[in-house]
Symmetry: C2
């Protein structure tokens, strides 16, 4: 902790200039011209002394720190969150900022506390950008979750399924997100001329999940394929189907979402959607810093990882 000792004043003293001048040099302040020799001396002194600016002092002066807080509710399991955070982190780092993550419930109070304590440059909600997506063309296609959900539906349709289910987790978990995803699935189905996917809820308890699937099968005998909210829910479908003696994919095809490592461990292996969100993370970073995002290119499209469950 006792590292940040060297101060701007030290650098100034060592190079025989005022702190103001040292600051101008070190920040390359565009509105100030500094003679080349002075600049060289200051830079060398800073290097030799190992000067690093005190972020707190700078933050007090500038009104905000160079910290960006990402608030995440859910867990970090799939490929999406991993790549999103990587992109966000790298892009922020490239522009002198630091990413820190806040976990857990968004009690308004505790969020305010964070803001007051560290004066971050911004607070991002995980997935916000992704939920929206960017419109790619005049037909209003998105590269976000809508497109990736459509990928599930298209995949099942291509394999000959017309009557689909959309499988969601137990009540309460990720219910907002599940609702949005279900809506996207319905849109995708409609655009293919398919009926809207039926809603299938899969609780965590295996016995309850099996019963849930059994009841569902009775109510929706025509449904031959399931697009799941995520891999976990998909694996629950697989387990329930197995316990009901159903053949997967013969009686019921299943596709997961977001390609966790667990998808490779089921029997049959779980088909799923691999999502690369690094560009989304970078876009979020640039947006927060008020920079242009045009040169980042489009997000890598999602892709289906085909296994035996579909």
């Amino acid at each position: 902790m006792g590292s940040s000792r060297v101060t701007l004043r030290d650098v100034a003293a060592a190079s025989g200039v005022s702190p103001s001048t040292a600051s101008f040099v070190l920040n390359k302040t565009p509105t100030q011209s500094i003679s080349a020799p002075t600049r060289a001396r200051v830079e060398q002194a800073a290097r030799e002394l190992g000067y690093v600016p005190n972020g707190i002092a700078r933050a007090l002066r500038e009104g905000a720190s160079r910290l960006v807080v990402l608030h995440v509710d859910s867990t970090f399991e799939g490929n999406y969150s991993r790549t999103y955070v990587r992109g966000l982190d790298e892009e922020l780092a490239a522009h002198g900022h630091v990413l820190l993550v806040r976990h857990g419930r968004t009690s308004a109070k505790s969020t305010k506390e964070v803001l007051d304590t560290v004066s971050p440059r911004a607070v991002l909600e995980f997935g916000e950008r992704y939920l929206t997506g960017r419109v790619l063309d005049d037909e209003g296609r998105h590269d976000g979750m809508a497109a990736n959900t459509a990928l599930q539906v298209h995949h099942l349709h291509e394999r000959g399924h017309r009557h689909l289910a959309f499988a969601v987790p137990e009540r309460g978990r990720a219910s907002d997100l599940a609702r949005i995803r279900a809506r996207f699935a319905a849109q995708a189905a409609r655009s293919l001329g398919l009926p809207s996917p039926a809603r299938l809820q899969l609780p965590a308890d295996p016995v309850a999940a099996r019963e849930s699937l059994q009841v569902f099968r009775g109510a929706h005998p025509a449904v031959s394929a399931v697009a799941a909210f995520d891999d976990l829910v998909a694996l629950r479908v697989l387990a329930a189907a197995g316990r009901l003696g159903l053949d997967v994919p013969g009686d019921l095809a299943v596709i997961g979402f977001d390609a966790t490592e667990y998808a490779a461990t089921s029997t049959p292996g779980l088909t799923t959607v691999h999502i690369e969100a690094e560009v989304h993370g970078r876009i979020a970073a640039r947006s927060v810093l008020g920079m242009a995002v045009d040169d980042l290119g489009d997000a890598a499209p999602g892709r289906v990882i085909q296994r035996a469950s579909s």
Copy 2:
């Protein structure tokens, strides 16, 4: 962002005292006595104006912010990390501090950058405390990972297994941790008079994993049970065993670690160890703040969640 407008000076003005006095009141500075009426006026003014101290200014003055950074390399999947972070977060919040998480590789440079930018009160490495554990008695028992690993070994031993394997992930992933866990497993086996568990490596690719298990079975025909590094590795063992036509648990029993939700979705269901780390999180919080930890009690012991795989 434009919320933190009200300053200490405003509160002081509104209550007709100096900023010094207002500060003394609001911080309940123990070395200062303030008359009751003054105190009341300041507190009311602060409340009415919605005053929240500027954490950056305070940090500059005090030399460190009230922020604690938790550095985590791996993913947050099992019960352990979830409960650890919850305990850490709540305990820090109870003492006026804020927890933020930094993900990803510990490049020394980027860590330094974090420190310089936000001057956190402390930086914790995830699992550090847990890796060590606390000695509970004179026999040197630990409540940390050693004890939880022993739980796996004891469970398999109780079910009649004498020749065990310890299953680890592919090269590179969590290899330090895997080595430590394997050593704990060996200690536990020795204390039961069992031979040291053989090392079984399970790559992510299902075909490679199956081959790995096949080779292992040839080399260690006596091994009848596997304790796994985590649930993911355990599920890989299950899948590989299934593909080899082995009966689980008849031919090979399997126990996972850290009770992810995925453990309930395999066929057969995966027996695993549930670990409650909230107390560890609280201990870490208190330690970092230089507070006593005695009244926190012992960590909840781990427990085996019995399913069909053992």
